[in-house]
Symmetry: C2
Subunit: 207 residues, 2 copies
Amino acid sequence: MSRASGAIAPLREFIVAFGRLLDSGPNEPRILSEGGALLRQLVAQGDWLPDAFAQPDPARYQQFLLHADSTERFSVVSFVWGPGQATPVHDHTVWGLIGMLRGAEYSQAYAVGSDGLARPQGEAVRLDAGDVEAVSPAIGDLHRVHNAHADRVSISIHVYGANIGAVQRHTYPAEGARKPFVSGYSNTLLPNLWDRSSEPRSTTTSA
Amino acid sequence: MSRASGAIAPLREFIVAFGRLLDSGPNEPRILSEGGALLRQLVAQGDWLPDAFAQPDPARYQQFLLHADSTERFSVVSFVWGPGQATPVHDHTVWGLIGMLRGAEYSQAYAVGSDGLARPQGEAVRLDAGDVEAVSPAIGDLHRVHNAHADRVSISIHVYGANIGAVQRHTYPAEGARKPFVSGYSNTLLPNLWDRSSEPRSTTTSA
Ligand SMILES: [Fe+3]
Ligand SMILES: [Fe+3]
Ligand SMILES: [Mg+2]
């Protein structure tokens, strides 16, 4: 318990810093560059994610909410990819930052043609541990993501400009029109990032 | 799961509304009056607190963090009092609102005399389900709280102007100087308030 509560400090510090960044009223390019730098710092540290939020599921990739902002300005989600798992082609409708924590993933951009069908655009981008990528309606919002590894788990940490699990968005089937999509979350419990009573700076009594 | 996630909506709506109130830059009297009205609404609804955050412990009262704001402007905590349980005399150092959800509690105010000892001030205030009380350095910050019931659990919902579990504050023994006090929290997991994918407004696909 002491260990877990101290170990998670990098995530708490990231969330406080990201909240302060948004308090300063930045435009989207600044959110993506300065927020991306904060996320790069976070995923450069390998040991802070509690095991409960790093567990794959054999049936599908997991989306564990780690924190949601009080007024839903942003959310932080741990994506856990089992071997070979992939998303459908999907959009976000808000800005998003993706930081690779463990393993690797490929993100293939898509664009919708005049016939309404989504088709791949350019080469897939490979993210390795420590890498950060961005999505948004302004810079390219559609992609399909898959675990680069067929034989091991990969984990990326995502930050979005909304409570992403509740956002009304879309998946894009290979044939036919886009479909409404609300992702929800895989977890009913979040980590408690906020208990500092076991950390060195504090003097705790058992009252 | 569907039920739990829908049932918790009043808490999510309270947190969003409280965040918006603080966004408007209110002074403390406005926080206590308008925030107090929001809390009164919340504790008027009886059914939203998940059972895991309503469990007493035979050894001592429980302090379950339900939500902390991204930049620690406020936190929301479920206090669960076993039969006859009580706090020590303590301060908060920040504003606090206390809303009675189930059962009843007594709050006895204290003041520090010129000898440095804390003594009771006036009559204890009884809070019954639906009642809301406030504390702060400006209006009276020291009190001792106890369950009004010797034979049943009582639960109150508290909101503070900080991440209260991490605040450096004090307890006041009957004899001798005040002692440093950091309360921490009883829980390592928080409820996920943010999943709306099972609620009626959304159209969820299983992608
Ligand atoms: Fe995505
Ligand atoms: Fe108190
Ligand atoms: Mg009364």
